[in-house]
């Protein structure tokens, strides 16, 4: 009987990794079928957000701590690597490492006071700390304040992540990023930590009764989530070639990072990817098709979509694909 139990969970995890590999191959070949440069750029952005949302999901989804300050970790990553490259000539390959460590450390530090708060107090505190840093950054001359920093282009180089036309190389960079964060989430799901975090999210008192320390669990989840978000910030900076507080630290970015996970299905392996695949194209395409002709309609479409999806699919888009979740929805309905 224990063997049967082992079967189902182990088989599910094996299926997931096989599906993940299949999707990875598909996405790796995708540029061959998509010649249009605009669409390719759209895919790059979608992959970036798939990774970012999965990074957010580690803390928000698995551990249940709704952070609206993840732009902070993104921004720290982006600024760290950009400054290292432009001021000291250090390769982004190291910048990625440094950005990840610093943003993970920042998430840990933010967690120290914030995880003493509960519920909405926690949400607001993350939001405020994020905004505070954004405001300070916009007034800090050392990092060019609100003017931002441009990464000058010298020559094609993989070690500098510099390309004359960045879209195709960055397709693979972002794909590697999204795949890596997905793999981390998959590993977490099957690990001791992952089980503890989900327990913390579902019921704190019950988790304690099983010997799980709540505070360290949250801090660990925050550090990993922050580091994963920071690496995304590093890649974004080198992809776009320009960063400023508005594009890397603002509250709206924190929401953008969280939304694909929420819409796709929080605390699930496929939710962030699915959410990004729906939200990012809709957002970008509505800007492209409508934005210039009638400012604001793109936001209206986006806002309406978020409301509709959140209300129609509170358990996330993944529930369309899960027989089990569908049954449950029927039960609840």
């Amino acid at each position: 009987m224990a063997g049967a139990a082992r079967g189902t969970l182990t088989m599910r995890r094996r299926r997931e990794i096989l599906l993940g590999a299949a999707i990875l191959v598909f996405l790796a070949l995708l540029p061959l079928g998509v010649g249009n440069v605009y669409l390719r750029g759209l895919i790059v952005l979608t992959l970036l957000y798939a990774g970012l949302a999965q990074a957010w999901n580690i803390l928000g989804g698995y551990c249940g701590q709704i952070s609206l300050g993840h732009a902070l970790y993104f921004g720290i990553g982006a600024y760290t690597s950009t400054l290292l490259l432009t001021r000291l000539g250090v390769s982004p390959l190291f910048g990625m490492f440094a950005g990840g460590v610093l943003s993970g450390g920042a998430a840990f530090l933010v967690g120290l006071p914030c995880f003493r708060l509960s519920g909405h107090y926690y949400v607001i505190a993350t939001l405020v700390i994020g905004m505070m840093v954004a405001l300070l950054a916009a007034n800090w001359d050392f990092i060019n304040a609100a003017q931002g920093i441009t990464i000058p282009f010298h020559q094609e180089s993989w070690t500098d992540l510099a390309f004359r036309t960045a879209i195709l190389p960055f397709h693979y960079v972002m794909l590697a990023y999204a795949a890596l964060i997905w793999l981390i989430a998959w590993l977490i799901e099957g690990s001791r930590w992952g089980f503890f975090w989900r327990a913390v999210k579902d019921d704190v008192a019950a988790a304690r009764s099983l010997g799980i320390s709540i505070y360290p669990s949250k801090l660990a989840a925050a550090a990993i989530s922050g580091a994963a978000t920071g690496i995304g910030g590093v890649l974004y900076a080198h992809y776009i070639g320009f960063i400023d507080p508005d594009s890397t630290l603002d509250l709206s970015l924190s929401v953008l990072i969280a939304l694909p996970a929420v819409v796709g299905g929080i605390g699930t392996l496929w939710g962030p990817l699915l959410g990004a695949a729906v939200l990012i194209p809709v957002q970008q395409l509505s800007v492209a098709w409508l934005g210039s002709a009638a400012g604001g309609i793109d936001l209206m479409v986006y806002g309406a979509l978020i409301m509709a999806l959140a209300l129609a699919r509170p358990e996330g888009l993944v529930s369309f694909f899960q027989g089990r979740a569908r049954e449950e929805a029927a039960d609840h309905g």
């Binding site: 006071p113 607001i124 604001g296 209300l311 358990e315």
Partner: protein, 291 residues
């Protein structure tokens, strides 16, 4: 730096703090009633400001005289938002808290987009009004009249909210916030109380919007900043506490004005955020929070 200047800035800050407090009170009332944080609160402030501007342009009615009209409009909007969106989230079994956060975020994005579409993103303002351009002098201290008037109106809003708790509806509201399920047994229609609660909370922000329209620029994203301050105010005062919102609002207005004076106007919000974080470290549920 003269004492007069400091006094003038401090009083100005307190008056602005009263406006912050009214915005926060609306948020806090809704939260206390049903545990929902409305992330579209700032967008509703913006809606009230544009409503004031449009009515002023179309009819010439002075913003001050529009108070009841816009408050009624926003009351209706609040009830509609409850009926159309929030009531649906209450029946959600999974992720209800998250759904509420992001539904109201979606609404906020939608409203800001609609304002941008309809009115463009340029700053606009009401140039001619009863209050505009005047100021009051108390000895050497000079205060702009619209700001003084806003402070007085804000005090009336708080008086109204305090009186509300003595009415029959106020008691139904209190009973509902204490126990959502049990009130049905004593004949209170929970849905109706929630709807009216949203109406009152939104009407409060509407009144703040009208008063701000007298002297503040109007743009699609004008609410973002006020909303941010409102969240801080509510968390500082304690979620659900109207009195906490008043005290915290005054504190924040004062700290903001003094930070701008003594440190740097560009960093005025840093002062607010520092105070907020400091208080939260000592009192994780804010100054007057019970929930």
């Amino acid at each position: 730096m003269s004492a007069t200047l400091i006094a003038q800035v401090a009083i100005g800050g307190l008056l602005m703090g009263l406006v912050y407090a009214v915005v926060a009170a609306g948020l806090s009332l809704i939260f206390g009633l049903m545990d929902v944080v409305n992330f579209a609160h700032g967008a509703l402030l913006m809606v009230a400001m544009y409503a004031t501007l449009l009515i002023h342009r179309a009819t010439g009615i002075d913003p001050l005289l529009q108070l009841p009209l816009v408050a009624a409009l926003l009351f209706g909007a609040g009830v509609a938002i409850y009926r159309g969106l929030i009531a649906r989230t209450l029946s959600v079994r999974v992720n209800a808290g998250m759904v509420q956060i992001f539904v109201t975020f979606g609404l906020s994005i939608f409203l800001v987009g609609a304002a941008e579409f309809l009115f463009g993103s340029d700053f606009q303002s009401i140039n001619t009004s009863l209050l505009g351009g005047h100021s009051l002098a108390f000895g050497a201290i000079v205060l702009p009249l619209p700001l003084v008037a806003s402070g007085i109106v804000a005090l009336f809003v708080f008086l109204g909210l305090a009186l509300l708790s003595r009415t029959e509806f106020g008691q139904a509201l209190e009973a509902t916030r204490e126990d959502h399920e049990a009130v049905a047994l004593i004949g209170i229609d929970r849905d109706r109380v929630f709807g009216i609660g949203w109406g009152i909370g939104t009407a409060s922000v509407g009144i703040a919007g009208v008063m701000l329209a007298n002297f503040y620029y109007i743009a699609p994203d004008v609410g973002t900043n006020f909303a941010l301050i409102a969240y801080v105010t509510v968390a500082l005062g304690g979620f659900g506490s109207i009195f906490g919102a008043l005290v915290a609002g005054l504190m924040i207005g004062l700290v903001e004005a003094l930070t701008a004076l003594f440190i740097d106007p560009a960093l005025k919000q840093i002062g607010i955020f520092m105070i907020y974080l400091a208080v939260l470290m000592i009192r994780p549920r804010g100054l007057f929070g019970q929930i």
